[in-house]
């Protein structure tokens, strides 16, 4: 086989990795390169160094070690039966690329995944080796996200956690039954067990009061996973339930939702269409409602029709329109959890209102200055100079709040 040059490899192996939605580089321990021999820092907030025209950020060098794979998952561009061009980096090539990109301030660090070659153990070993070299030989203090091969030996997962900031194992299919059909070489039980091991290691690495010495660090930015949306027929309610179970069970920092996207050289098993981007967006909103707004999965279910979230309005508004008896709430007296239920009010604006209330009585214009748009908020609140009257219960309220459908723009290019 002819040797591909490095740039060609980079193009093949970045293309192969782009279907993983994870891009976070935040939430790890604070570090900098002062007093070290290498380079890099992490300061809590990850930085998005560029954005591509798909609206996604470029924060990490997101690549596969290789896109050869002995698995044959029908939704994946790298499946064994795909005719995609194959390539493989060696360990040093990845290390050098990461350092060279980092020195020029292109990236926050490395996101390394891989197709499975030879065995899960062999593949995981190679990935751990990259992270180990970056950390130990180059004193690299930037961010590293390693993909876990769930079938790999737990000892390798332990090592991965020593070098990486974040680990992730992707569930991919919200429906376990679909796993057998679409990803026959994968076992959802094995994936969950890998996540369970990570959670236990993360918890064991938390310093206890009684510990004299700090336990060694383990994946300080925790773990995440990804669910593909629109490949296996699972409705939104099922996806939300699955997410809630994953958050609760494995202490995940994030569940990513990735709208199933057409891939070149597709399999006959999955009909291709445009990716359901709006559905993906609504699922992220529902996920946020669960994590930051105190919504339970059944409550989000109340805002669905036939198990699907409303695509025209956000899930919080959909829920509020169904539960109008809970509104309007008084912005000057209502409890925090009730304010968080008001459509259009975010966590930050609610926190600000609560602190301002101690010094001033809020008027509608004050609320307007604290949130992004007052139109959605107005029917659901009362303020010093505002009551919505019959607006809250107006039959046509949904119609009034649905944004006008945008005329389809012709592309200029």
């Amino acid at each position: 086989m002819a040797q591909l040059d490095l740039r060609k490899k980079l193009s093949v192996l970045a293309d192969a990795a782009k279907y993983d939605a994870s891009c976070a580089s935040s939430g790890t321990s604070k570090r900098d390169s002062k007093g070290g021999k290498g380079l890099g820092s992490t300061e809590g907030m990850g930085i998005c160094h560029a954005y591509t025209p798909d609206g996604r950020c470029v924060s990490l060098l997101k690549i596969l070690l290789t896109n050869f794979c002995i698995y044959d998952c029908v939704y994946c561009i790298n499946r064994a039966s795909s005719n995609v061009q194959r390539a493989r980096f060696n360990v040093d090539e990845v290390v050098e690329l990461t350092l060279n990109f980092y020195r020029r301030n292109y990236i926050e660090g490395l996101f390394l995944s891989s197709g499975i070659i030879r065995s899960g153990d062999y593949t995981m070993e190679q990935m751990v080796l990259v992270a180990k070299k970056l950390r130990e030989e180059h004193d690299f203090r930037g961010y590293i996200h390693l993909k876990l091969i769930p079938e790999a030996d737990p000892k390798l997962v332990e090592q991965a956690g020593l070098y990486a900031d974040r680990l992730s194992a992707n569930v991919e299919l919200p429906r376990d039954e679909a796993m057998g059909r679409f990803a026959p070489q994968k076992d959802v039980g094995v994936i969950k067990k890998a996540m369970a091991d990570v959670r236990r290691s993360v918890e064991a690495a938390r310093p206890q009061k009684k510990d004299r010495a700090r336990p060694p660090k383990f994946a300080p930015a925790g773990q995440s996973t990804q669910l593909i949306i629109g490949a296996d027929g699972a409705p939104d309610t099922e996806i939300i339930d699955r997410s809630a179970a994953l958050y609760g069970g494995y202490g995940l920092r994030r569940v990513y939702y990735s709208a199933f996207s057409p891939i070149p050289d597709s399999s006959a098993a999955l009909p291709l269409s445009k990716p359901p981007l709006m559905r993906e967006h609504r699922l992220y909103q529902a996920d946020w409602l669960m994590r930051f707004y105190g919504f339970s999965p059944p409550e989000i279910g109340e805002a669905t029709t036939g198990g699907m979230l409303d695509l025209a309005i956000d899930p919080k508004l959909a829920w509020a329109l169904n539960r109008r008896e809970r509104f309007p709430v008084n912005v000057n007296t209502a409890a925090r959890e009730d304010l968080l239920r008001v459509p259009g009010l975010g966590v930050k604006s609610v926190n600000r209102m609560i602190s301002i209330r101690r010094y001033r009585t809020l008027r509608l214009e004050d609320v307007a200055r604290l949130c992004r748009g007052i139109d959605k908020v107005r029917p659901f609140i009362t303020a010093l100079d505002w009551t919505p009257g019959g607006l809250t219960d107006a039959v046509d309220l949904r119609a009034r709040l649905v944004p006008e459908p945008k005329a389809v723009q012709l592309s200029l290019f």
């Binding site: 980079l10 970045a14 782009k18 007093g35 070290g36 021999k37 380079l39 890099g40 820092s41 300061e43 930085i47 160094h49 560029a50 954005y51 025209p53 798909d54 609206g55 996604r56 060098l61 698995y71 064994a80 039966s81 795909s82 005719n83 690329l97 020195r103 020029r104 301030n105 292109y106 376990d176 057998g180 026959p184 070489q185 039980g189 094995v190 969950k192 067990k193 996540m195 369970a196 091991d197 236990r200 809630a244 179970a245 958050y247 609760g248 069970g249 996207s261 050289d265 269409s273 445009k274 990716p275 981007l277 669960m290 994590r291 209102m353 301002i356 010094y359 001033r360 604290l370 290019f413």
Partner: protein, 489 residues
């Protein structure tokens, strides 16, 4: 009109000094003017006679909240001409409204905070969009020292955030020598000290870098043409920065080609599977499918069969089935209710908080846990997610009945003399009828296979008791039951 001259655009100390003087002498906001030497005049549109000092009582000294000073420092970096006036107006108002800074919905305060956000965003974007190019020193003007690798960037910040942001680059690239050149000033790091210098021109920075071709290749390849969202991209990466971003030159062609690429992918018929690699495919994970009707006398096989159990829906949200653990032929079998959070993760029974209570009680009763077969009535963890935790839910009769299939096999393999059921769920599973734990506890009960059963409380009940006295009393009763059980072996 009172006028103060500031030394430069971000002369915070100068502004602070002047503003303090103005306020002490009662200069109202409309009569105060701040001018940067050599810069644009700020403030009022007409240079005429503004109002003179007000007739408010003079102050000899005053204090302002720290929040104001913090906000003022940031607003000073904003490019707006009227920033000095806005700050002075707030300073003036603080006299009668000491809590003003806390009223973030006030028009002036909201305006100032908005500018703080603009500045902070400009600093953040600087951290993101500076692109270093490598040069061999001493080829660069302004960088002294011995030759070697130097990284130089040309950058145009949206607000005057160079000095505010330079320390970030020091922390991140402490062992590199670098320069960041901007139109209004420059920052240099020689590996030991940060120095600043005058503004520069784009041509003072290197024109290219060998890694940029790789970076552009990466940028183009990581883009997914099926997900075009140009508005999101522009919101996060405003056009004003594009001219200094090497990758931005690719944007028009990526957008232009995206629709065709996507349509081609969607319309193209699925290709024939690649047979070259098909021979190397790993075996299916669940060969033989799920056999939860399995009957076996081998404990390892039993544990594997439980992993595939679909007799009730509890498997779905659990990590794994938790089979019992202990020697075959153990005289005592202890049956709990179900695995909890920790047991579900570890795949072992009684390793969580309730397990610790059980271990201590067994030790006190003189029973060695390694001689006991420990299991649960239900093999999967039934729970409800609550954020980052899982709340235990009691299994229902249907679930217990479905799972008896496995418990009966465990009993057939282990053949204990005594089966000790912890709590009502376990009692129902073992005795096949609902009993009140308080009435039956501690009594030996015959089982159909000729062995005996005994019922006692579940150790998690001891954990839930609120007051210490009750806890101690109940714990002693639990240990007494265990001692009684030992007597029956």
């Amino acid at each position: 009109m009172a006028t103060a001259e500031l030394a430069h655009e971000t002369d915070f100390d100068g502004w602070r000094e002047a503003a303090r003087r103005f306020r002490l002498s009662g200069v109202e906001p409309a009569g105060a003017r701040f001018v940067v030497v050599g810069g644009e005049a700020s403030g009022s549109l007409f240079d005429g006679e503004g109002p003179g000092p007000s007739d408010l009582p003079r102050e000899s000294a005053f204090t302002v909240p720290k929040a104001f000073v913090d906000v003022a420092r940031e607003v000073m970096l904003h490019r707006s001409a009227d920033r000095f006036d806005l700050l002075y107006r707030i300073l003036w108002r603080l006299r009668d409204e000491p809590d003003l800074m806390k009223v973030t919905s006030d028009a002036d305060v909201a305006d100032a905070l908005e500018r703080v956000r603009n500045v902070s965003r400009a600093a953040h974007k600087m951290k993101a969009f500076v692109r270093f190019r490598l040069v061999q020193a001493p080829a660069v003007a302004g960088v002294g020292g011995e030759p070697g690798d130097v990284y130089v960037a040309w950058f145009e910040p949206a607000h005057r955030v160079l000095e505010k942001t330079a320390p970030f680059f020091v922390r991140r690239f402490a062992n590199m020598r670098w320069s960041i050149l901007t139109p209004e000033g420059s920052a240099f790091w020689d590996g030991e000290a940060l120095t600043t210098g005058p503004g520069a021109r784009p041509e003072d920075a290197p024109r290219d870098d060998e890694m940029e071709a790789f970076w552009k290749t990466y940028y183009a390849s990581t883009f997914n043409p099926a997900r075009l969202k140009t508005k999101t991209m522009q919101g996060e990466m405003p056009r004003r920065y594009w001219k200094n971003l090497p990758e931005a030159s690719l944007i028009p062609e990526l957008i232009a080609a995206s629709r065709d690429r996507t349509e081609t992918m969607v319309d193209r018929a699925p290709s024939a599977p690649n047979l070259k690699l098909a021979g190397a495919v790993a075996p299916d994970a669940r060969l033989g499918g799920l056999d939860d009707g399995r009957v076996t006398s081998d404990p390892t096989e039993l544990s594997q069969a439980i992993q595939g159990c679909r007799r009730c829906p509890l498997w779905r949200d659990a990590t794994q089935g938790v089979c019992g653990v202990g020697p075959v032929g153990a005289k005592l079998m202890i049956v709990g209710e179900q695995p909890g959070d920790q047991e579900d993760l570890a795949g072992l029974p009684f390793v969580g908080p309730a397990g610790q209570v059980l271990d201590a009680a067994l030790q006190e009763a003189g029973i060695d846990r390694s001689d006991v077969y420990v299991t649960n009535a239900v093999k999967h963890f039934k729970h409800e997610p609550r954020g980052q935790r899982r709340l235990h839910k009691t299994p229902n009769a249907g679930e217990v009945t479905a799972c008896r299939w496995w418990l009966d096999q465990e009993r057939a393999i282990v053949r204990p003399r005594l089966t000790l059921a912890l709590g009502a769920t376990a009692a129902f599973a073992v005795l096949n009828q609902k009993v009140a734990v308080t009435k039956t506890r501690g009594e030996p009960l015959p089982l159909p296979d000729g062995s005996r059963a005994m019922v006692t409380v579940h150790p998690s009940y001891l954990l839930r008791l609120p007051d210490e006295a009750a806890k101690a009393r109940e714990r002693a009763a639990f240990v007494r039951d265990l001692i009684r059980a030992r007597g029956l072996l």
